[in-house]
């Protein structure tokens, strides 16, 4: 089962490697990991996507909580939550195909953020499956480079994960 965990972490050198090291040392999967400082510069927010049985996820959250740099942690997948990921993608866009790429971007509500004579660079935000669908619609032939941020998540409703 796929689980999304939101973690508030001390914004300290090495904090990220403690989390990454925990996963490799104990043999847990990391599907993706997105991290950046928050409005409070002493804290980072990490959205971590992992897979495992309920027992494994329980161990993962307990072990994460044990890390001294972890301030707070919520498993988003336990309640209603929203997940978004950003895709930057560079595609060939020459001749007839050029219009087609633009049309597809419009359908998926993507933006063109850089243009050359032969390429478009597009930005698209959404759930992972939406990004997958867009990439598939473009087809492998035209793709020059794909950059994905990994999902960030936030719980629905009034409550927030903060200190």
């Amino acid at each position: 089962m796929r689980h999304v965990i939101s973690i508030l972490l001390e914004n300290e050198a090495g904090a990220l490697s403690r989390v990454a090291g925990l996963f490799s040392a104990r043999g847990y999967n990391i599907e993706s990991l997105a991290v950046a400082p928050t409005e409070d510069s002493t804290l980072s927010r990490m959205t971590l996507v992992t897979t495992g049985s309920d027992e494994v996820i329980e161990q993962i959250t307990k072990q994460l909580n044990k890390l001294v740099d972890v301030v707070k942690l919520v498993e988003l997948t336990q309640g209603p939550y929203i997940e978004r990921e950003m895709l930057l993608i560079k595609v060939r866009a020459a001749g007839d195909g050029r219009d087609e790429v633009k049309r597809l971007a419009d359908i998926f509500r993507g933006h063109i953020i850089d243009v050359t004579d032969t390429t478009y660079t597009l930005e698209l935000t959404g759930t992972g499956s939406k990004l997958d669908a867009f990439i598939e619609a473009l087809g492998p032939a035209g793709i020059i480079e794909v950059v994905r941020s990994g999902p960030s998540g936030i719980a629905r409703g009034e409550k927030g994960v903060h200190v």
């Binding site: 090495g14 490697s17 040392a25 307990k62 044990k66 001294v68 740099d69 301030v71």
Partner: protein, 577 residues
């Protein structure tokens, strides 16, 4: 007044109440060593290898409950501590390790004696720090001690670059620490404790299984009261021995791979298992599929991650063992329901039948020295009062089986990591902390050679340790597994080219005795114990075919123990052949 980082560091140790620092100098730590030289409050013990420093600090911590302190230089100094740090980590021992580091301006340049100490130790510390600014030094030292000693204890490393020890600032040692990201619990949840007590009082075949956590939380007294109040059988793990008196009739001995028949059988048959400060290690549980098939399980542990990690638990209680036990005692005393006397009597009758197997029996008429006999005699001659450290192997298991510990913090061994080389330096730390007490290091001829250099430290500081070397000319535990599971192919387990341990001890300025006959065992031990101010190296030439029984082989359950017979394997014995 402004002080240098080095002076601040030493003042921190003083204000933290540190008595001993076990260490070894080098370039990056020289400002600190200079500051140590200019004061006399904190005593520095110079070891002969940094691994020895960590084990010595560890022995100090295990025998006192106070944190052990280590000081080493950068690079090889700190890499040499890794085994000792991992040893402490696995057994949740509070250590604070200070390592010198190259100057902040050089970090990352592959400078002379630079290693990423924080990176190398990360997987085996509770937490670690790199101090980049002298103004953070005192607060970091304070945090390090706080983290090491609270919650589930463990080692904390503080890496201090050389320039930080030269820079100056005002000194103030923080009175307390508050960390938003670290708030260990101590008290258990009252609702859970109530649930546990109901289950405990309803048990027909109860079993108490206690571990090192009881010792770490100073929970020996409440554990003893708890067990006696209920009259239930108790088994203790290798790490927990002594928390409950081993000579008490309610104690059924150690459990696990080389535990007693009665302890393991009772585990298998019990209907309620009360686990306290123990972590269901694989050497304890045997095959998890076959573990305690009839039991409803209560687990008290300070570390939530230990609960339901290996074995699903019905009543989890996160809290310190001493506090939770005290709460449970209150509820049991107040409860209307009392333990079921008839059921308990029947249960004890069954346990006594298992006990009657006398599973630790050995051949007392042997012409060769039986290791068990040495330990039994040691136990008798010291009245069970000695501190006993051990290395890793058969001798460790025999020490755990035959020395009956009635008090906590007397049995000092590397249970989690199983570190050969631990015994002698650990004994140094114990002896420093308890100068008047008898400290014995039970070891094997293979293990003792892993930190043998510390004999020199023992001489320098007059540490009158009694080294009980059970010399079977084999890595006995390895040989035993090869005998059982590898069709007696004794691959690289024979200890060839052994030194003359008597001469070796003498060359370091100690007393050495070689004992070859059972009849001489008692006399030699008596003589050694009489030499109160000398280290004595007792080299017992033991029966090298002896195996540790009982034994649960890998993949087996508690009810599938091998008891005897211990067939001698003379044909492969190079000395007898």
């Amino acid at each position: 007044m402004e002080l240098t980082g080095a002076d601040i560091f030493v003042r921190c140790l003083r204000d933290e109440g540190v008595e001993y620092v076990f260490g070894y100098p080098g370039g990056a730590a020289l400002h600190i060593y200079d500051a140590l030289y200019r004061q006399d409050k904190v005593k520095h013990i110079l070891v002969r290898h940094e691994q020895g420093a960590t084990h010595a600090a560890d022995g100090y911590a295990r025998s006192t409950g106070r944190p052990g302190v280590v000081l080493v230089t950068s690079g090889p100094g700190v890499t040499n501590t890794v085994t000792g740090i991992a040893t402490a980590y696995m057994d949740s021992i509070p250590l604070v390790i200070f390592s010198g580091q190259v100057a902040t301006s050089l970090i990352g340049d592959d400078a002379f004696q630079e290693v990423d100490a924080v990176g190398i130790t990360r997987p085996c510390v509770k937490h670690n720090f790199l101090v980049k600014d002298v103004r953070d030094l005192a607060a970091t030292v304070k945090k390090a001690f706080y983290i090491a000693t609270t919650g589930r204890p463990g080692p904390v490393l503080v890496d201090i670059p050389k320039d930080v020890t030269a820079h100056k600032c005002e000194y103030a040692y923080p009175k307390e620490v508050s960390m938003r990201s670290y708030n260990p619990v101590t008290k258990g949840h009252p609702g859970q404790i109530k649930k546990a007590v109901d289950l405990i009082l309803a048990a027909k075949r109860p079993m108490i299984y206690s571990g090192g956590g009881v010792i770490l939380s100073e929970g020996s007294k409440p554990l003893t009261d708890f067990v006696r109040l209920l009259g239930y059988p108790i088994t203790q793990t290798l790490m927990g021995l002594g928390a409950y008196p081993g000579t008490d009739p309610l104690s059924v001995g150690m459990l696990g791979m080389h535990g007693t028949y009665e302890a393991n059988m009772a585990m298998h048959e019990c209907d309620v298992l009360i686990a306290i400060g123990a972590r269901f290690d694989d050497r304890v549980t045997g095959d998890l599929e076959k573990f305690c098939p009839h039991a409803r399980i209560i687990h008290v542990d300070i570390d939530p991650a230990s609960i339901s990690k290996n074995v699903p638990v019905e009543v989890p209680i996160v809290g310190a063992a001493d506090a939770v036990l005290a709460e449970m005692i209150k509820l049991i005393k107040a409860a209307k329901k009392k333990p079921d006397k008839d059921a308990l009597a029947a249960w004890w009758k069954q346990i006594d039948q298992w006990r009657a197997q006398n599973c630790l029996d050995y051949d007392r008429d042997s012409k060769l020295i039986k290791p068990q006999f040495v330990l039994e005699t040691l136990y008798e001659l010291t009245g069970g009062e000695a501190f006993v450290t051990s290395d890793v192997g058969q001798h460790q298991m025999w020490a755990a089986q035959f020395y009956k510990f009635d008090k906590p913090r007397r049995w000092i061994n590397s249970g989690g990591l199983g570190t050969m080389g631990f015994g002698l330096p650990a004994a140094m730390g114990v002896q420093m902390a308890h100068p008047k007490s008898t400290v014995c290091c039970v070891t094997g001829e293979a293990s003792i050679q892993m930190c043998i250099q510390e004999l020199s430290t023992c001489k320098q500081y007059d540490l009158p340790i009694k080294i009980v070397n059970l010399n079977n000319r084999y890595m006995g535990m390895v040989r035993q597994w090869q005998e059982f599971f590898y069709d007696r192919r004794y691959s690289h387990s024979y200890m060839d080219a052994l030194p003359d341990f008597v001469k070796l001890a003498e060359s370091y300025g100690h007393v050495g005795l070689k004992i070859e006959k059972p009849a001489d065992v008692e006399g030699a031990l008596k003589e050694a114990l009489k030499l109160k101010d000398r280290l004595v190296f007792l080299d017992f030439i033991t029966d090298q075919t002896e195996n540790v029984y009982p034994m649960i082989a890998a993949g087996k359950g508690h009810n599938e123990m091998h008891l005897k017979p211990c067939k001698a394997v003379v044909s492969t014995d190079r000395e007898l052949a």
